[in-house]
Symmetry: D4
Amino acid sequence: MTHRHDHDRLERIGMPEAVLCEPKSVEQFAAIVAELTQSTDQPRLFTRVRSDQLASLPAGLLERLDIDPVSRTAILHGVRPPRPGRVTVVAAGTSDAAVAAEAERTLEFSGVRVESIVDVGVAGLWRLEERLDEIRAADIVIAVAGMDAALVSVLGGLVAAPLVAVPTSVGYGVATGGSTALHSALASCAQGVTVVNIDNGFGAACAAVRMLSLLGGAAE
Amino acid sequence: MTHRHDHDRLERIGMPEAVLCEPKSVEQFAAIVAELTQSTDQPRLFTRVRSDQLASLPAGLLERLDIDPVSRTAILHGVRPPRPGRVTVVAAGTSDAAVAAEAERTLEFSGVRVESIVDVGVAGLWRLEERLDEIRAADIVIAVAGMDAALVSVLGGLVAAPLVAVPTSVGYGVATGGSTALHSALASCAQGVTVVNIDNGFGAACAAVRMLSLLGGAAE
Amino acid sequence: MTHRHDHDRLERIGMPEAVLCEPKSVEQFAAIVAELTQSTDQPRLFTRVRSDQLASLPAGLLERLDIDPVSRTAILHGVRPPRPGRVTVVAAGTSDAAVAAEAERTLEFSGVRVESIVDVGVAGLWRLEERLDEIRAADIVIAVAGMDAALVSVLGGLVAAPLVAVPTSVGYGVATGGSTALHSALASCAQGVTVVNIDNGFGAACAAVRMLSLLGGAAE
Amino acid sequence: MTHRHDHDRLERIGMPEAVLCEPKSVEQFAAIVAELTQSTDQPRLFTRVRSDQLASLPAGLLERLDIDPVSRTAILHGVRPPRPGRVTVVAAGTSDAAVAAEAERTLEFSGVRVESIVDVGVAGLWRLEERLDEIRAADIVIAVAGMDAALVSVLGGLVAAPLVAVPTSVGYGVATGGSTALHSALASCAQGVTVVNIDNGFGAACAAVRMLSLLGGAAE
Amino acid sequence: MTHRHDHDRLERIGMPEAVLCEPKSVEQFAAIVAELTQSTDQPRLFTRVRSDQLASLPAGLLERLDIDPVSRTAILHGVRPPRPGRVTVVAAGTSDAAVAAEAERTLEFSGVRVESIVDVGVAGLWRLEERLDEIRAADIVIAVAGMDAALVSVLGGLVAAPLVAVPTSVGYGVATGGSTALHSALASCAQGVTVVNIDNGFGAACAAVRMLSLLGGAAE
Amino acid sequence: MTHRHDHDRLERIGMPEAVLCEPKSVEQFAAIVAELTQSTDQPRLFTRVRSDQLASLPAGLLERLDIDPVSRTAILHGVRPPRPGRVTVVAAGTSDAAVAAEAERTLEFSGVRVESIVDVGVAGLWRLEERLDEIRAADIVIAVAGMDAALVSVLGGLVAAPLVAVPTSVGYGVATGGSTALHSALASCAQGVTVVNIDNGFGAACAAVRMLSLLGGAAE
Amino acid sequence: MTHRHDHDRLERIGMPEAVLCEPKSVEQFAAIVAELTQSTDQPRLFTRVRSDQLASLPAGLLERLDIDPVSRTAILHGVRPPRPGRVTVVAAGTSDAAVAAEAERTLEFSGVRVESIVDVGVAGLWRLEERLDEIRAADIVIAVAGMDAALVSVLGGLVAAPLVAVPTSVGYGVATGGSTALHSALASCAQGVTVVNIDNGFGAACAAVRMLSLLGGAAE
Amino acid sequence: MTHRHDHDRLERIGMPEAVLCEPKSVEQFAAIVAELTQSTDQPRLFTRVRSDQLASLPAGLLERLDIDPVSRTAILHGVRPPRPGRVTVVAAGTSDAAVAAEAERTLEFSGVRVESIVDVGVAGLWRLEERLDEIRAADIVIAVAGMDAALVSVLGGLVAAPLVAVPTSVGYGVATGGSTALHSALASCAQGVTVVNIDNGFGAACAAVRMLSLLGGAAE
């Protein structure tokens, strides 16, 4: 059984295939890195890299990767060329930072200008209002929130840009695993909010890339 | 099998027993109304009264009841004496009005001064901010909200008074039945919010009555 | 209790407030229609209108509404001015047509050019492939699917445009209520797909409107 | 990304912001402790502190914290000034003691007089009845219970004071994670009971602080 | 397709087969009544009989049945011979009466002496304590309760006899459908309580019949 | 929007497309029947036909359909040619008969020889053992069962043929909707049992048709 | 906080209080063992003892305990006096042995004669039939089964004695955690089966002790 | 308690009993291996073998086993004789390889010719289409997929052979544990697909063996 890459994905949907590492064995991970190092010189993104996967990688391969521990991502062969558009990632709390970082890193990999604003949960609404002009200046907003994800509805009522919600698994009791944040975002009283899977910062960034294609200028 | 009333509940917990009518048969409902009309002259509250229960009641009994169709409540032998304290019921949308009305009516029955504020959902935050001084003047705030119940967290971050959340079953898709609103309220990022069962306007009002006992002056 | 409209929503988020009619009483519905007929001459959309709500409306009000029974929508004061961009709504089966129609009608109301393609479920993949050029020509694609919602992943792997999935409640057994379609869309193996609540054709259309703002030219 | 504190929360809702430590990384925890040690001399509470977070803290910071291992809390800059009112925390079993301790410690931090009564589960009802006078003397009662949480209903029928239920995750089989205790408390047949999230001793204490504001004398 | 009876069930497990009518069509019900009227003269019990099933039955068959509308049961060919033992059915509220009645009727059908005690919910504990001697005199106790089913744990801590809990579907919000009552009974802190399916008064009575076989004297 | 048929499905997967009628409107149903009456003379199956759909059909179309009320199926243009193989449908109880009939009718439509055995639930195991030789003579066995679906495991341990389980939604309490039967069949301790969706008699029959292709001789 | 024992439980319900050790801290466990070693000479049972709890116990206390690693139980001050009656514990598979052992040990502690029969799952029905006479000779049968728990229904149709089902958490996929086995047992098509919580071998044994009181002769 | 094998299973259902090792203790595992090494010379399959079970096995026994770490299987006394038929196992992603390997190994053990095709997820549909002729040449297809399991519907619409879906637990957020993949496969819009429990590669292979019996020539 060998990994079979989807090499023309970039042409088809404007984004290259990424490698979700978490469910793969240490052997499978190493084999894929080795293969991609050889078979292509195009930028590649690895997400949810486990530390034991990195630890077991031969030094020769390890040094080829640009690794970010917070977002648990690795990049091979550099990032994609710059493209028009600007995305702001807004996170409710410090605890959501890892997921926000995954979105941020995926956008950087995709050549998109991105900035992050953290700790603007609605329990202290003034923190969000203070940054509102900044947020409204973005082409696309990604909202990252766990627990009750109230940030999503509040933002959705205040900004006109496309808003992608990323519920996070941060929380305990009824919020364990993120289903409360997910359901809350899906049932948001703010119209036109869209949602991706729990903790899927990568997916939210990819959705933003799809949207930014409306600005033109992205095709290589 | 005869209904067995908990006649000393008023002395024990400061509130008389109420009758939850929805699950009772038409015959059971009529028998309880008849019995309470006779056996006591103390105020009694009936909640979730079904229209077929009222329709089948003998005229002699029906005229004894003070019926409110919006809240689906009925009151026998008048309301309880006035007591100190003031409660504000805040509802996110028009659709939550029936549950808000149940809370409001239960408080009126209990001798508590109450006012309602409706349509202050967070999708248009200015509506809530416009009424904030009014809400902050209350001793206790009851927040009634369905869908994502984001109103609960926003209010919880803005007012210092005790805040009781009533999630409602208004909603569709993931919000069907009210569990999203319930979980969202329980996972609220605002500290010190308490929650009652879905659609339980009666329970929130009773919780407020318990709290108002801290103001003194309520015992008969 | 009176309905309190969010009159400046258009300025704030580029879309006027819409009225979700399903959970409202016949009286509440009539009051809102009456009020909006008087207080504004701006276009307004009513969604999930129940037939009993329409049946009880005074003739004078009824004739003001432009009613579409398939999508269960009504429009007051005409549609919004045309704006740039083109959306394609793709539905897996005939049974998903009502939800697709809600999305289509909301887009028409918003001044957006829209077309629908129905019965392209993946059980007969050639039907989808036959229409692929047409679908790829759209700025935004909305995929409406119940049951296993496999259409979402297949489309997501074939088109580069923003793709909004609307899971539908069509189905039985494990698919009852739409949660299988919802979870399937959220877990889609195609990157960058976003999702709205079950049966929320309105929400998907609003998300498209937000995205089309990237094309410019929409502000009034 | 830096942590952004909600510094005026005390003025707004009568309680300072607390730091929920569990989902934070060791680095984030250390940074917040360092910052709060410097930037303020006001009392601060840390909840759900993990032992690895404490172990990695520089000695200079560690000695500033007043740490309680049972409740997993830490206090910086001392406790808040005494305020009127008295709370009793009642726990069903020894296994619920950690959650009860979190409530107790949060109240002590808030300047509230508090006492705890443990092992009064309803399987031996006499244990509860023996302590009933003591419990009835409190201004507010917090009931901490896992498994079937029957203690909540029994207490709710016996005391008139505000009663806040904290379901715990203690249990196995259907009680795993605490949802049975949560649902049981929400569906309590005793009127006017309110509920907080599973294991949320902190939240119950904050709710009590909100309620005690009705007694006056708490504002600094 | 013809119904195939389990004619020797009485010999095998000490109870005859009963007919659960609810899911059967009107035609299937009529055919089974007709067949059993002819093919046997042994007592037979029909449970959950729907009124439309009875309404469509030929008069000649209808008059053969002993029908009880509260418990929704019908008996053909009389009841089984008396057997030793005495069962008490305890129900928390008036609303649980139908399920309690199904248990009571099944016991009467089985030749067992039975009495019912209703409205002894734990919100007014004195009502239960008042009847405790009576309950303790029974060989077996069946506890019928919806909502939080706290009655089960309280009874389980007070009586030594076998205790069978029947959770009921009475309730709303989190208690809808009876799962809260079911889980609460299964997680009861009182040791040695057993549980049957939601609303299964028939099953609890059959369990009691199995247990009473320990008293001897039941075999025909 | 017009219905788009998958006309070459027969060639591709050996079975023609069937029409699931339940979620379709009366108008959609009539349009599809009309179209298929005209556009093809090949056999077509309609499943889950609602009585209001039939009632509203023009007489000219109605008489073209071969309708079976128990299985809620209709057949247009006759059945498919006979093919090798023999299937036995085994149903646990009378209440499962409608689902069993859907499987049976789909097999008859497909030209497959089929027989049904009903009322062989495991509570009276001898009924099943009595028919075992008959069941073992089949090429494929379909087991239809609700409640705990214990029949599936017992059969799976006794026969060597392919065994397809159809869980049914017959049941109450924890068995409501069929998820207990579904999970029980999936977790069956008998090896090599396969499962289809709840109440999906059609799907089980189609699975049998796929398997019978191993016998050869089916292609037209 | 000190542990408060329910010392008169033996008189009240015929069984002494047992100590559920799993959720207790190492310190709490040691304190309870120390206290009970001193304060009483009556037999005491500890269930779900964790190995780290035993490892940290002072040798002087450890040697007082009679420890059984398979059932994870410990006994202090010997077992209770012999009482009439005989229980058979039937387990579907080797993997259910630990739960079966907990039931067996609790019965031995209670002075009840008990025997176990393992590996009689219904996938090989002859294994069960081979032991049927033995099982039928018991006064009470406890059935321990995970996965689909089909053993419960099969046994329930074959024996007349009281049958208590213990679903186990053995299983994967849909059977993870035991809810499939639990629901299957509750929905059993065999009449009069009762159920306890998942993995609750202790509870099933206590239920048996309650039932055996019908044989008389157990009171001390 | 000793393990009781179902020695005549081969005669009864055409497959020998296999040993599911995961839930067994190290001692139970070793005892079963020892016993089967002695008591029979017939091929035996062990599934879900844990590494600690292997590590603790005496060398004399360990060398008797043919162990495959990817599929976590072990084989004793060689494989079963070759039988007619050919199965193709298709897996959506690299991460599903372990489950696919369990199916493959079980088929090899059963004497069936099998090949695997990996990394043909529908996000890059061309990968599947490229292998379609190969897949269509198989007598039976097993589809292994996690996340949204869209592969199942796509395959089901393209091949006529029996198709058995194995949902896998690969995934995060809503896909955690595999229930999304399971529900998606059960609700597949492709007709005649059957499903086994999550991660049950063994079960899918056994189902294939049952089906291959239709080809004849398998009985020993």
